[in-house]
């Protein structure tokens, strides 16, 4: 894993919270003529809480989440029906970059295409995706450090794990003729390891890519 070593990255410069929209960053220390980030705003559609840029960014994140939600593959050999999809990573990254509201929007809208395929399953996916990304984004907003990111991811994963198990107890009987007790019997052998593996992948990948993604986000200013 040395390929992703973070050793050269100073803490505290990680992700600029999108809510403050950039002006805080002083790129040109000492050089007064260097343009600050939002210097080229016309003040029309490219500023404010819902700038066109923000809308376009959210839209592409949601589209990415939708696209990835269809990329499913089984995690545990021999248990082909518990499928993993990487869409949760997008909500986590969006939450880190733009705050809990973005995490919520990407989590919810990202599964809308599934609403007309598997309605109850979509409710379940919403619950879990929100449970993972929103707490993580909330904590990271307060603690803007790498340890804050780790804490956020761990808390998010725990919340999502609880929600996933509770949700499975309620929703699985609708898809399969099983009693709640029968589903409960599956918690330890199937649900727990699968969901843990799923959140582990989402969290590890998010942790590895959120720094470069945020660099890209900050770089691509007009």
């Amino acid at each position: 894993m040395s390929i992703f070593s973070h050793t050269s990255i100073p803490a505290r410069t990680i992700i600029k919270d999108g809510q403050s929209s950039g002006n805080a960053t002083n790129t040109g220390a000492g050089d007064t003529t260097i343009s600050p980030k939002d210097a080229h705003s016309t003040g029309v559609g490219d500023s404010g809480r819902w700038s066109t840029r923000r809308i376009a960014m959210y839209a592409c994140f949601v589209a990415l989440s939708m696209a990835l939600s269809f990329v499913e593959f089984p995690l545990i050999p021999g248990v082909p029906w518990l499928k993993y999809d990487p869409s949760g990573i997008v909500a986590l990254v969006a939450g880190f970059a733009y705050g809990p509201a973005a995490a919520l929007i990407v989590s919810i809208l990202g599964f809308v295409p599934h609403l007309f395929i598997s309605p109850w399953g979509t409710l379940m996916a919403w619950l879990v995706a929100v449970g993972l990304s929103v707490p993580a984004a909330l904590i990271y907003r307060r603690m803007h450090t790498r340890s804050g990111a780790v804490l956020g991811l761990v808390v998010g994963a725990l919340v999502a794990l609880v929600l996933a198990i509770v949700g499975n107890l309620i929703i699985t009987p609708m898809y399969a003729h099983m009693t709640v007790a029968q589903v409960a019997a599956l918690i330890v052998p199937a649900l727990l390891p699968f969901n843990l593996a799923k959140y582990a992948i989402n969290c590890v990948v998010t942790f590895l890519i959120y720094k470069p993604v945020s660099d890209l986000l900050n770089r691509s200013a007009r």
Partner: protein, 899 residues
């Protein structure tokens, strides 16, 4: 009518100057990008008169695009004074938002990338987006949409999906979206850069027409011939205007683009004049004297037709034709393609047809041909990222595709070499073992695939888009690590590759902080580090500056001396002449349209990414791709609010439909008895009939889920222990109750899927998001930006297929470097995942940047009062539908209680 340059840069004189008659006026404007050292615009002063046709030319980085954005009112400068359409939008006091807003409503902007300017998946809705943002009335919007589509010659495409159109059509629709807003000035930033010759002429003709009607045109271009169409040519260099000339004369400093794609005749002529050995690869079937090509038995005939016509200028002995190829040179061939045809998934016609060619070991061969000739398809076929319909492919001795019909079947004079006999035996075995149904072509085995990865290097188009790691060195090391080399070897390989491309100094930089040219070099180093014997490059120098291009050419020359076989796809004749031993020219298959050959590549079955199934067709954005004919038929009928020709279900108010369908789908999970199932089936059948959906289409939409039903059913069989045991599987009893519930569950699941498919089939994304917006509008009181969120959803549905293509492209590229998320240790899989996710995020940001400009150009703003082209009024039919659904729900409950 020469306009004198106005020398006075002070704002006082600008105020004094008569602004009437001026579309735009800039004084001493300076602009610098964040973190940049040099001014992108350094004291630009410029007046553009109303009705003028101005072309702005200049090299990459000269500031012409920046200037275009300032003139379009999409960006503000650092200093200077700008007046747009009589509005003083920027002066010493900075940007005046209200002035910008007013000015922008009269200025349209069109950008380079046609796809990213399209905001929704129905042409009419897309064109209506701008008028909606301007708050026009519904009737006015209808007029504007009709007028604008007529102006660009796309009237018949009102209901078509623009995202599946060719680049030229997309760009015309983008222009229509601007025309519909009645702009007084249109600023176009290289609108033809991504188009072929015909599409280019289409766009230029539209500009001429707009100009004749009095619209001010500002056209930023790097084509000298395009610039000469204007009345006035402004040349930019290093952020300054270096010349400003009126009419006819071609600008002195204008860059002629090295990547200009000459028309087919010029191309032929130039190639012939170049003196290189040229082989024209014609598809067997496109020749009139090939009577039949489809059946393998007749391939003997089509071989003759497919035999390359050798250019008279060249030395015939040097260019091996089909006969020599398969007969004698078996072991010396690095690449052998034998009668290969390939139809991209979803395309109506093959992009490669009966193609035969070969490349000897150590040769450098240029593969050329017009857009749509199938060059990129060939690259994918050779690298086993796509499987041909028929034919044999061997690369570096590895059978990439083996067609048993061809080798084992017809006795042709060409198909029987020693290699042929070998594949023949293998093919017979394959027939016994049984290969994938539906294709007679056997792909390579897993071991052979790994072997291919070791031997074959692939540089796809825009390879820089696959960069992902923190540092250049880590990125280059990705391929060698996947080969399983030791850390020491990996480091050695990385150093060597960086050295070969002269980028050792970039070693520890982040790849994302480099210039485009540097990124390309790093990406190529990542392929070279795998030490391929055979290297495929798909337009490696396209849109690169001269220095980076020269490095790549040096590298290829270097590799050639080291004995590496190189197949170089290029448009550039000079490049081919400098590097290649000979040239192969692909002639497009008879039916190849640009649309089919490029658009549908993303759907190509990729054995490596087998689990990356394309999304179920129920996803709304896929709706029209496979049904172009239907869409066109309906096109004439569909007008906003006028539902003639649409089915009863399609005409329902989208809000009613959304709520009702969700209620039906959610409640279907309560079905637990045959009576309830019968009620549900009757209602569903009624809805399908009312929606007038052909059963075959419905089946196509839901067949992906059939295996799910089988699985769900099987699960129930195992879990139900009550009832009479019918059989035992191991210790698990199969009971009649189990079978009964299995059937009920599978059936109710089917109902849900059918209802969902009907909803998606009869509802446009615009209607769906309008409905969501309307339904959620009470949340506005809680401070939730419902309008913006609805727009995000609408845009996301639009960009879903685009990003799916990006994901596929990156997955291909990383697979070619040996990355796989489906095998290996957890650490390897995580690394493979990052190597895909990171570039895909970068792609999302790239699209988002373009999209946000396009939204600005269409005058979208947070919280504006938008109108909706489609009317949302409740009609009688909506009431009837609600009652029907309520009766059904009551019947479900009654059936549960009474029976």
């Amino acid at each position: 009518m020469a306009i004198p340059r106005i020398p006075s840069p002070t704002s006082a004189s600008v105020d004094a100057y008569d602004m009437r008659g001026l579309a735009a006026s800039l004084r001493e404007v300076r602009y610098r990008y964040a973190g940049a050292q040099d001014w992108a615009l350094d004291g630009v002063s410029l007046d553009i008169r109303n009705g003028e046709y101005v072309c702005i030319v200049g090299a990459n980085g000269s500031g012409k695009s920046t200037l275009g954005r300032l003139i379009a009112g999409l960006s503000a400068p650092d200093s200077g004074v700008i007046t747009l359409d009589g509005h003083m939008v920027f002066d010493e006091a900075g940007a005046h938002a209200d002035q910008y807003r007013r000015a922008r409503h009269d200025i349209g902007a069109v950008f380079q990338n046609p796809e990213d300017q399209i905001v929704t998946t129905v042409t009419g809705d897309d064109v209506a987006f701008g008028p909606e943002n301007l708050g026009m009335s519904r009737t006015r919007i209808s007029e504007q949409v009709a007028y604008a589509l007529d102006a660009v010659g796309m009237t018949g495409h009102l209901a078509d999906d623009p995202t599946t159109m060719s680049g030229g059509q997309q760009q015309r629709i983008a222009i229509a979206g601007i025309i519909a807003m009645n702009p007084r000035m249109v600023v176009l930033d290289e609108p033809t850069a991504m188009l072929d010759q015909d599409a280019r002429m289409g766009v230029l003709t539209i500009l001429d027409k707009l100009h004749r009607q009095g619209t001010t045109i500002v056209h930023i271009t790097h084509h000298a011939d395009e610039a000469s169409r204007g009345q006035r040519v402004i040349t930019m260099s290093a952020g300054r205007i270096v010349s400003d000339s009126h009419l006819t004369a071609e600008p002195a400093g204008a860059d002629t683009d090295a990547y200009d794609r000459p028309s087919q005749d010029d191309f032929r002529h130039l190639l012939q004049a170049s003196g290189m050995p040229v082989t024209w690869l014609r598809a067997g079937s496109s020749d009139e004297y090939a009577p039949s090509d489809s059946s393998p038995a007749s391939s003997g005939v089509s071989v003759t037709a497919a035999a390359p016509a050798t250019n008279g200028v060249s030395d015939t002995a040097d260019s091996p034709d089909a006969e020599e190829v398969s007969a004698a040179r078996g072991p010396a061939l690095a690449i052998n393609v034998d009668h290969v045809s390939f139809t991209p998934q979803g395309a109506a016609f093959p992009s490669v047809e009966q193609l035969t060619f070969s490349v000897r070991s150590g040769e450098t061969v240029a593969l050329m041909g017009a857009n749509g000739a199938g060059k990129t398809s060939v690259v994918k076929l050779l690298s086993a990222l796509a499987r041909p319909d028929s034919g044999n492919i061997t690369v570096a001795g590895i059978p990439v595709a083996t067609d048993h019909r061809y080798t084992a079947g017809a006795e042709t004079p060409h198909g029987t070499g020693s290699a042929g006999r070998q594949t023949d035996r293998r093919a017979r075995a394959a027939r016994w073992i049984g290969h994938l149904p539906g294709s007679a072509v056997k792909p390579l085995s897993r071991r052979q695939r790994i072997e291919l990865r070791h031997r074959l290097g692939l540089v796809m188009q825009h390879p820089e888009r696959q960069l992902f790691a923190h540092t250049v060195a880590e990125d280059v090391a990705y391929g060698p690590r996947n080969l399983g080399l030791s850390e020491q070897e990996v480091t050695q390989r990385v150093d060597e590759a960086l050295e070969l491309l002269h980028i050792s100094e970039l070693r520890d930089r982040s790849p994302f902080g480099l210039s485009g040219g540097q990124q390309r070099l790093v990406a190529i180093a990542g392929v070279i580090a795998c030490h391929p014997d055979v290297l495929l490059l798909d337009e490696p120098t396209a849109s690169l500056d001269e220095m980076a291009s020269a490095r790549i050419r040096d590298l290829l020359a270097d590799l050639h001396h080291r004995g590496v076989t190189v197949l170089l796809v290029t448009h550039n004749i000079d490049e081919a002449r400098a590097l290649a031993d000979r040239v192969l020219v692909l002639e497009p298959p008879k039916h190849a349209g640009q649309q089919t050959s490029i658009r549908h590549l993303h759907g190509t079955r990729n054995p490596e990414a087998g689990s990356m199934s394309t999304a179920p067709d129920a996803s709304s954005t896929e709706r029209t791709t496979s049904e172009p004919a239907d869409a066109t038929d309906d096109a004439a009928d569909i007008h906003a609010g006028d539902g003639s020709g649409r089915s009863a279900i399609a005409m329902l108010d989208a809000r009613v439909k959304t709520v009702a369908f969700l209620a039906l789908m959610f409640s279907a999970f309560a079905i637990s008895s045959p009576y309830q199932l019968a009620v549900g089936a009757v209602l569903t059948a009624g809805i399908v009939a009312a929606a007038r959906i052909r059963p075959s289409l419905l089946l196509a939409r839901i067949h992906m889920f059939l295996f799910l039903f089988v699985f769900a059913g099987a699960l129930n069989i195992f879990f139900v222990r009550t009832g009479t045991p019918l059989a035992h599987i191991g210790a698990v009893p199969i009971t009649d109750d189990g079978v009964y519930t299995a059937i009920i569950y599978a059936c109710r699941f089917t109902l849900v899927i059918i209802l969902g498919a009907v909803y998606v089939e009869t509802t446009t994304p615009t209607a769906m998001t309008d409905a969501f917006e309307s339904l959620l509008s009470p949340l506005k009181r809680c401070g939730i930006h419902v309008q913006e969120i609805a727009l995000v959803l609408s845009l996301a549905l639009r960009f879903l297929p685009t990003l799916r293509v990006e994901i596929m492209a990156v997955t291909y590229a990383q697979a070619a470097r040996g990355g796989s998320i489906e095998s290996g240790s957890p650490a390897q899989r995580c690394r493979a995942m990052c190597a895909i996710i990171m570039p895909v995020f970068a792609a999302s940001l790239r699209h988002a940047d373009n999209l946000s400009l396009a939204l600005d150009a269409r005058s979208y703003e947070e919280g504006i009062r938008r109108t909706h082209w489609h009317d949302m009024h409740l009609h009688f039919r909506d009431g009837v539908f609600c009652v029907a659904c309520a009766v059904y729900l009551a019947a479900l409950v009654l059936a549960a209680v009474l029976l």
